[in-house]
């Protein structure tokens, strides 16, 4: 007698331990296997783009902090890059170096958060999460020295930074740079060769390079698929053209590659920061008058390589004190587009792992 079976539809989320915020996935299971999936978002919609139309240009910096709250520095940089393009503002060189330092620190912090949560989703009971957060704490301490805040930094301003780094920042930064490779080695030894991690993530959620490019996926996920594309090299902003670093890529585009690419990116970031510390010139970090800026009529698109991918701001100005329109191209939102194709056919555990490997941040998806 054939057994009568039925597919089961489960709402994963909006309240679920591994949806990184409030994200809902309507998943249809056949036993353990996923046969259909539909992402539903909008639970964290705060109307950032609309709010931006009501704020002056400098005030919008505080809004960008809250987009991807794990990498506020990169968001600040993305916004001010677009704004500087629009207003034609020259940034002092020291400010550019400090910007790169803080953005790369933020990249390490963000990737550490990713690693911790990724392993958490694989089922290590909080251990890796605590280790990664322990390391990240030092970066947050550095941010506190730079700008007085740890998460929502609001550090950058059109035309530069709020203020120069204090004198005790540099020794602390050097200490951190000394220790960080050791931390990464430890994580690598703990995770990279772990057979359980390998068997859980290898050949899971494979994304082919063609598909990834067609879906305009960016960031570590694209690079894990083997596409060597990084805005820091492809379209260098700030002082990246003077820096010497590699773009790590993955072999197959599976979840493991996404993890390993991020891990190697952390090493590259440490390298970049070291070069910045060596080269940083003296001088001012501010441009006069940019605080109360009124860019000329027109539009500009500025983008940076945020930890999660290409973060772009498209700003239309009507000559007033606030933008006419501010469109945000958020990497997390676009990286989720291939979710269904990657997950369907896998097991439930794969679903969680694949979704975790995308490192989606809900604040950015819903904007």
């Amino acid at each position: 007698m054939p057994i009568r079976t039925e597919p089961v539809t489960i709402n994963l989320g909006p309240q679920h331990p591994s949806t990184h915020g409030v994200f809902r996935l309507r998943v249809t299971f056949d036993g353990e296997e996923v046969i259909d999936l539909e992402p539903v978002f909008g639970y964290l919609h705060r109307g950032t783009e609309k709010l931006a139309e009501e704020r002056t240009y400098t005030q919008i910096v505080t809004l960008t902090d809250r987009l991807d709250y794990e990498s506020a520095m990169s968001n600040n940089l993305g916004y001010v890059t677009a704004l500087e393009k629009l207003g034609g503002i020259e940034v002092p060189e020291r400010a550019m170096y400090l910007r790169v330092i803080s953005v790369e620190l933020q990249r390490i912090a963000s990737h550490l958060v990713f690693t911790g949560f990724f392993l958490q989703e694989l089922g290590t009971f909080v251990t890796m999460l605590m280790y990664c957060f322990r390391e990240r704490e030092r970066i947050l301490d550095l941010f506190e020295m730079l700008c007085g805040a740890r998460i929502t930094v609001s550090y950058m301003r059109p035309g530069g930074l709020t203020q120069d780094a204090p004198s005790d920042f540099w020794p602390a930064l050097n200490d951190f740079l000394e220790d960080m490779p050791g931390y990464i080695d430890e994580l690598e030894e703990l995770i990279t060769r772990n057979e359980i991690v390998l068997s859980r993530t290898r050949d899971v959620g494979v994304l082919d390079p063609e598909v990834a490019i067609d879906a305009s996926i960016s960031g570590p996920i694209l690079r894990a698929s083997g596409v060597q594309w990084d805005l820091r090299k492809a379209d260098p902003y700030e002082i990246y053209s003077e820096m010497d670093f590699e773009i790590p890529i993955g072999a197959t585009g599976d979840c493991f590659d996404r993890y390993i690419v991020r891990l190697q990116e952390m090493r590259e970031s440490v390298k970049i920061i070291k070069q910045c510390v060596d080269k940083i010139p003296d001088g001012t970090v501010k441009t006069d008058g940019a605080f109360f800026m009124r860019p000329p009529e027109g539009d500009a698109y500025g983008c940076v390589e945020a930890p999660r991918g290409e973060l772009g701001f498209y700003i239309v100005s009507d000559g007033g004190i606030s933008p006419y329109r501010c469109k945000i191209r958020s990497p997390s939102f676009i990286n989720t587009t291939m979710l269904r194709d990657m997950i369907v056919g896998g097991k439930m555990s794969d679903l969680i792992v694949i979704f975790g490997s995308l490192a989606v941040n809900m604040g950015e998806v819903d904007r």
Partner: protein, 396 residues
């Protein structure tokens, strides 16, 4: 006077008139059960503190430390909190089944302790089929888990329960086979017999059996890396998603009893039970060994991620099952060889020779199995840049 069943029974039947033997029997039984169950609950509560503290240390945090010295009273606070919580169950839940589920999960854990010999003379009952009893009773918790999952009418709980049944049933086989190796060597099914025959701890004599047992047991109690029944990141809570209040407390108690049960069995069967140098009493040896075993389980829990469902099942049948069979075969052959016909226990020197052979075979077997099971796809590949978007070309 030692607190044992016989003593109490003798005392009670002494003051009762003749012919009321059964009353004496019940009174002494209930009295002892009360003592033991309450002691066990106390120990389990203390163990939750131990587990959380050690796990906290592993994760470089502090663990509970607010109430009482070193947070020792934390379990009490937890119990009070859970008991005073409202007991919510979904409207469409199967009330009877979901109420019975926690009990069905907890009782087997208590039952196992009835026959564990904590010392040479301190045990509740010495069943001559102790190992069989253990296998039967620990198999019962499958019911508890499935009842919890089924009764609460929750899809997560149901998924967890289904996983649980599949996994628990498969891992029972290697676990039983691993115990069978010990039984063969000891020539006795009773736990005190097994302890008595361990002139050399069976951990040394049959490492393969120990390995299989500890893996299968950690799957049986659904601990990392086999904790997919309640995989928090996937199923939110697994079979106990819908439980709250006292029922949830009982589930938690059962969950924290599981490592104790496992550690106790492990100590008795593989670590020589209460045997040890006479410096300290056997009971203390037992506790120390059990603590070491729980520490090992904790260590594993703190380090390893979780396996996937199909991998867990595959590991049971493709990995552990052959190893357990090999272990039995090896032990049986060695007994046949060294103990030719005699019934006298095997001497320590012979056991040492046996352990030498066994360690060698264990190493070879694990090496071969690892290479058979280890998929070549897990080897690192060399990344090749895709020609589709070459930024170096574009930047020029």
């Amino acid at each position: 006077m030692e607190l044992g069943f016989r003593n109490i029974h003798a005392f009670v039947s002494g003051i009762l008139p003749d012919g009321l033997e059964w009353i004496a029997f019940s009174i002494s039984g209930i009295f002892l059960a009360l003592v033991v169950i309450n002691a066990l609950v106390g120990v389990a509560a203390l163990y939750t503190w131990f587990e959380r503290r050690v796990l906290g240390r592993f994760q470089s945090r502090l663990g509970p430390n607010r109430w009482g010295p070193f947070g020792l009273l934390q379990p009490l606070a937890d119990i009070i909190k859970l008991i005073t919580k409202e007991d919510i169950s979904p409207n469409s839940a199967d009330r009877i089944v979901s109420t019975l589920a926690p009990i069905a999960l907890l009782v087997p854990a208590f039952l196992v302790f009835a026959i564990i010999p904590f010392g040479t003379n301190s045990f509740l009952g010495d069943l001559n089929v102790g190992v069989l009893f253990i296998m039967g009773v620990t198999g019962m918790n499958t019911f508890g888990i499935f009842m919890g999952g089924w009764g609460s009418r929750n899809k997560y709980a149901m998924l967890g329960a289904m996983r649980g049944v599949a996994m628990l049933v498969s891992y029972e086989v290697p676990m039983a086979l691993a115990l069978a190796g010990a039984v063969l060597l000891a020539g006795s099914l009773s736990l005190s017999g097994i302890v008595a025959s361990q002139t050399l701890p069976f951990l040394i004599v049959q490492p393969l059996g120990f390995l299989v047992f500890i893996i299968a047991a950690s799957a049986e109690m659904s601990r990392a890396p086999f904790d997919m029944i309640e995989a928090e990141s996937e199923l939110t809570g697994g079979y106990h998603t819908e439980f709250s209040g006292i029922k949830f407390a009982i589930f938690q108690l059962a969950e924290f009893m599981a490592p104790l049960v496992t550690a106790a069995i492990l100590t008795v069967v593989f670590l020589g039970g209460s045997r040890g140098p006479d410096l300290i009493p056997g009971q203390v040896w037992f506790i120390l060994k059990a603590l070491a075993a729980t520490f090992l389980l904790l260590w594993i829990r703190a380090t390893w991620p979780r396996l996937r469902v199909d991998q867990i099942m595959g590991f049971a049948w493709k990995g552990l099952f052959p190893l357990a069979l090999l272990n039995i075969f090896l032990i049986a052959a060695e007994i046949q060889f060294f103990q030719s016909g005699g019934i006298e226990p095997i001497g320590v020197s012979t056991l040492l020779i046996m352990s030498g052979i066994n360690w060698l075979v264990t190493g070879i077997a694990i090496y071969i199995l690892a290479n058979v099971l280890g998929q070549p796809s897990l080897q690192p590949k060399k990344p090749v840049p895709s020609p589709l978007a070459n930024m170096y070309a574009e930047a020029e």
